[in-house]
Assembly symmetry: C2
Homo-oligomer: 91 residues x 2
């Protein structure tokens, strides 16, 4: 299932860890703090567990949304594609 | 329809303008760079036009996703509820 993950994480190191974890799980960065991927049910359960393990009691908020194909195809993208990989190296 | 708006906007002033616009349109902040609201079709068209007008050629990326009620009810929220209003006053 299509899965959108958006996050707000105050600590730089933890934020990068979560981003690396999401990449490792095959999700693709669509914004600085948003990833999207097509996961099986068990992959999504695994993803949630991994994020909970990383976040623990940190000042962080992560939200995971299952998306229907229609929701994805009807999405509207405004503006330019920002280069997120570059920004990561700056951190 | 439930509508999720996520954004990546480099310029502080423009980012605040977009956040204010989304609030004005009745969306609720769910993360620092994410808003959610229940809009009619025409409200969503209007929202899109307003965002395009604000963004113009700025270094920004805004994505609007229509969500089904099932997508919303199945969302997973991990972590704490951060205080976004406070952060705005800090900018």
């Amino acid at each position: 299932m299509l899965t959108l993950v958006i996050y707000d994480i105050t600590d730089d190191e933890l934020r990068n860890k979560v981003a690396d974890f999401l990449k490792l799980k095959g999700l693709k960065r669509i914004q600085k703090s948003a990833f999207l991927g097509d996961l099986t049910y068990s992959e999504r359960v695994n993803l949630e567990a991994g994020i909970r393990h990383l976040i623990k009691d940190a000042k962080a908020n992560v939200q995971i949304y299952p998306l229907t194909p229609a929701s994805y195809s009807q999405r509207i993208v405004i503006g330019v594609e920002l280069s997120y990989e570059d920004e990561e190296y700056l951190v």
